[in-house]
C-alpha cells in the first residue's frame, strides 16, 4: 500500500488527535459517486456546502470545502469504478472520506504533481482530466490522507477546520 499524508503544521496536533480516536460525528452525509457520471458528480460537494451554510460556517472556509470536495468527487467519477463520499461534521471541523472500488493510484508521487493526469479520452472530452485534482485538494485542505496501490481501492480523506 502507498500512503500520502499532508498536514498543515499548525493543525498537526489536532489532526493526529482526531485520527487517533475519531469522535462520534454530530452530523453525517453520504453520497454515491457513480463511475463516469459527470451529471451527478459534484452534487455531494454542493449539498455539503448548502448544509454548512445553514450551520453558519464562514464563506472562505465554505469555499475551500466546496472546492476540495468537488475535486475529489470528480476524481472518483473520472478515475475509479465508482465509490462513496461520506462527510462527518463536527462543530469545529469537517472530515470528508472518499472510498472507491479501484483500480487504485499506481504512482502517488506523480499524481500529486500539478498537470500530471492519467485521465482517459472520455474524461478529457468531458472537460476534466487537467491533472489539477489532487494538488487542488491538497491546497484547500488542512489535512489530506491518501491510501492506495495499483489494482486496489483508494481512500482519500481530508479534514478542514472551521
Amino acid at each position: 500500500m502507498n500512503e500520502f499524508w499532508h498536514i498543515e503544521p499548525r493543525f498537526e496536533a489536532a489532526v493526529k488527535g482526531y485520527f487517533a480516536q475519531p469522535p462520534q460525528a454530530e452530523l453525517e452525509l453520504e453520497f454515491p459517486v457513480p463511475e463516469k457520471d459527470f451529471n451527478t458528480a459534484g452534487n455531494g460537494a454542493s449539498e455539503t456546502k448548502n448544509l454548512l451554510k445553514r450551520l453558519g460556517v464562514d464563506s472562505d472556509t465554505l469555499r475551500r470545502i466546496a472546492v476540495a470536495a468537488y475535486e475529489a468527487e470528480i476524481n472518483v467519477a473520472a478515475h475509479s469504478k465508482g465509490g462513496i463520499m461520506k462527510c462527518l461534521i463536527y462543530d469545529d471541523l469537517i472530515h470528508i472520506r472518499f472510498q472507491d472500488e479501484g483500480p487504485g493510484i499506481a504512482d502517488m508521487d506523480q499524481a500529486m504533481i500539478p498537470g500530471y493526469s492519467t485521465a482517459d479520452e472520455l474524461v478529457r472530452e468531458m472537460g476534466f482530466g487537467a491533472g489539477l485534482g489532487l494538488p487542488n485538494i491538497k491546497k484547500n485542505s488542512d489535512a489530506l490522507h491518501i491510501l492506495s496501490s495499483a489494482n486496489n481501492p483508494t481512500t482519500v480523506e481530508l479534514l478542514i477546520f472551521f
Partner: protein, 425 residues
C-alpha cells in the same frame, strides 16, 4: 404606499380573498419565501427577492404587483417618464418605435426619456470599473434588482463582487433631476420622475433602493399596467407620426446576452446568464471560484433579461426578436452626454457597499445550529419525502425546518395524517 410594518418593501401583494391556498406560488419561489397556512399564502418579507415568479404562477389573481397610480404624476408641476428598453419589444411590428415612445407622453408626462439613450455610456463606465477593480473577479452586474437581493440573502459572500455604480435608469434620473430643476427653475419636490418598468423587482427598487441615500424616482408604473391606456393613443399617433428622438442601438440593455457581448472586448471576458435557476447555479459556482476566468457576468433573473419581466405583455422570445430587429435596422443617435460624464467623474453615481440579509443560518451559534439540524433530520425521516407542498411548505425539508423553527407542526403533513387515519381503521 410604502408598507411600514416590514423592514423590507416588496412590490407584490397577496389578496387573501382571492387565495385558494393552491401552493403554486410556494413551489416556484426560488428563496422559499412563501408558505400556505390555514389555506392562505403568506410572504416572509426577509426572504423575498421580488423575482415575480409567484405573480406569474398565481392563476387566481391573488398575488398581484403593487404599482403606483398614474394619478401620482399630477402631484408634480413637471413630470418625466424614463422608459425601460423592454417596453419597445411589446408592440407588433406595424407600431413604430417613435409612436410607441410618444404614446407614453400622452399618458400625461411633460417629458419622456429612455434607458437606451445612455447604454453606450454605461458600457464604457462598466468597462472602466472592471479595469479599475482587477482584484475582484468576476464582477457581477447589479442592474437586476432581484439578482442584487438574491445575493444579499443567499450569497452574501459575493456582495463585494457587485458592480457598485448606479444602474442606467438611476443615472438618468439623477441627471434629469439636476438638469430639469435648473432649466425649468423648479424645486426638487416640484419635479416628479417616474419609471416605466418590466418587473416587480424594479418597482421595489424604486421604493426601497439599495446602497443609495439620494432622492431618485418618485414612483414606478409597470408596462402591463399602462399598456391598455397606451394602446388607445397608438392609432392617432400612427396617423400623425410624432417627431421624437429614439435610441435603437441602445435597446441592447433589455437583453442580457447582447449587453454582455457589448462589454466583452480584448481584455474583458464576459458571461451572460438569465433565468433565476441559472443565476443561482452560476452564483454558487462563483462562490467556489470556478468562474474566476470571467471578468464580468451579466445576471438577470428573467428569461432573456428584462424582456422576460413578469409585468410585460409579450413573450420574452418574441420581444427579444423584435428588439434585435430594431437594433439591427436602427441608426446611431448622436447624444450629448457631457453632463452625465461630469456627474460621473464627480462620483455622483457611486453606490455604498450593500449589506447582507442572510436567511440561510439556522442559528448564530454553530452548536445550536447543529442541534437544530439534527432535529430537522429527525423530522425529515418521519416525513414522506414526496415534496408535495400540500402542507404549505415547499418541500419536506422546508417543513422539517419550519417545525424546528416553530413555524409549523408535524400535523401539517397531509400524507402522514392520511396514513395515520388508515392505520386507525
Amino acid at each position: 404606499m410604502t408598507d411600514t410594518t416590514y423592514k423590507y418593501f416588496h412590490a407584490i401583494q397577496i389578496l387573501e380573498d382571492n387565495c385558494t391556498g393552491c401552493t403554486a406560488c410556494v413551489r416556484v419561489c426560488p428563496t422559499e419565501a412563501i408558505r400556505v397556512r390555514d389555506r392562505k399564502a403568506y410572504l416572509d418579507p426577509t426572504r423575498c427577492i421580488d423575482c415575480g415568479n409567484c405573480v406569474t404562477a398565481c392563476k387566481f389573481h391573488a398575488i398581484i404587483p403593487r404599482s403606483d397610480s398614474l394619478k401620482a404624476i399630477n402631484k408634480y408641476k413637471y413630470s418625466v417618464a424614463i422608459i425601460s428598453a423592454a417596453y419597445f419589444g411589446q408592440f407588433t411590428e406595424d407600431i413604430s418605435y417613435p409612436v410607441a415612445k410618444a404614446a407614453i407622453l400622452e399618458l400625461g408626462f411633460d417629458e419622456v426619456a429612455e434607458e437606451a439613450s445612455i447604454t453606450e455610456f454605461m458600457i464604457d463606465v462598466i468597462r472602466e470599473y472592471i479595469r479599475e477593480n482587477r482584484d475582484k473577479r468576476p464582477i457581477l452586474s447589479s442592474n437586476c434588482p432581484a439578482v442584487v437581493r438574491l445575493i444579499q440573502v443567499q450569497y452574501p459572500s459575493l456582495l463585494p463582487s457587485l458592480y457598485l455604480r448606479e444602474t442606467p435608469m438611476s443615472v438618468l434620473t439623477r441627471f434629469i433631476r439636476d438638469k430639469v430643476t435648473k432649466e425649468k427653475n423648479l424645486q426638487d419636490d416640484e419635479l416628479g420622475i417616474f419609471l416605466i418598468v418590466p418587473c416587480v423587482a424594479h418597482v421595489t427598487a424604486v421604493h426601497q433602493p439599495e446602497g443609495v441615500n439620494k432622492h431618485l424616482q418618485d414612483g414606478a408604473f409597470s408596462i402591463g399596467m399602462i399598456y391598455g391606456r397606451v394602446r388607445e393613443y397608438l392609432k392617432n399617433l400612427q396617423n400623425n407620426p410624432p417627431e421624437i428622438d429614439t435610441y435603437p442601438k441602445g435597446l441592447t440593455w433589455a437583453l442580457s446576452g447582447v449587453q454582455a457581448e457589448l462589454v466583452d472586448c480584448d481584455d474583458i471576458r464576459t458571461l451572460s446568464v438569465n433565468g433565476i435557476d441559472n443565476v443561482m447555479e452560476i452564483l454558487s459556482r462563483v462562490e467556489d471560484h470556478y468562474l474566476d476566468q470571467y471578468d464580468y457576468i451579466v445576471l438577470r433573473s428573467c428569461t432573456n433579461g428584462c424582456v422576460g419581466g413578469c409585468l410585460n405583455v409579450e413573450n420574452p422570445f418574441v420581444a427579444m426578436s423584435r428588439i434585435k430587429k430594431m437594433i439591427k435596422e436602427g441608426d446611431v443617435t448622436e447624444v450629448d452626454l457631457s453632463g452625465i460624464e461630469t456627474m460621473y467623474r464627480a462620483g455622483e453615481f457611486d453606490v455604498d457597499q450593500l449589506s447582507a440579509r442572510p436567511i440561510m443560518e439556522l442559528d448564530k451559534d454553530i452548536k445550536a445550529a447543529i442541534k437544530k439540524m439534527k432535529q430537522i433530520n429527525e423530522f425529515l425521516t418521519m416525513l414522506p419525502g414526496l415534496n408535495c407542498s400540500a402542507c404549505g411548505s415547499p418541500t419536506c425539508y422546508a417543513l422539517a425546518e419550519d417545525i424546528v423553527m416553530g413555524k409549523a407542526s408535524i400535523e401539517d403533513c397531509v400524507v402522514l395524517l392520511k396514513r395515520q387515519s388508515k392505520e386507525e381503521e
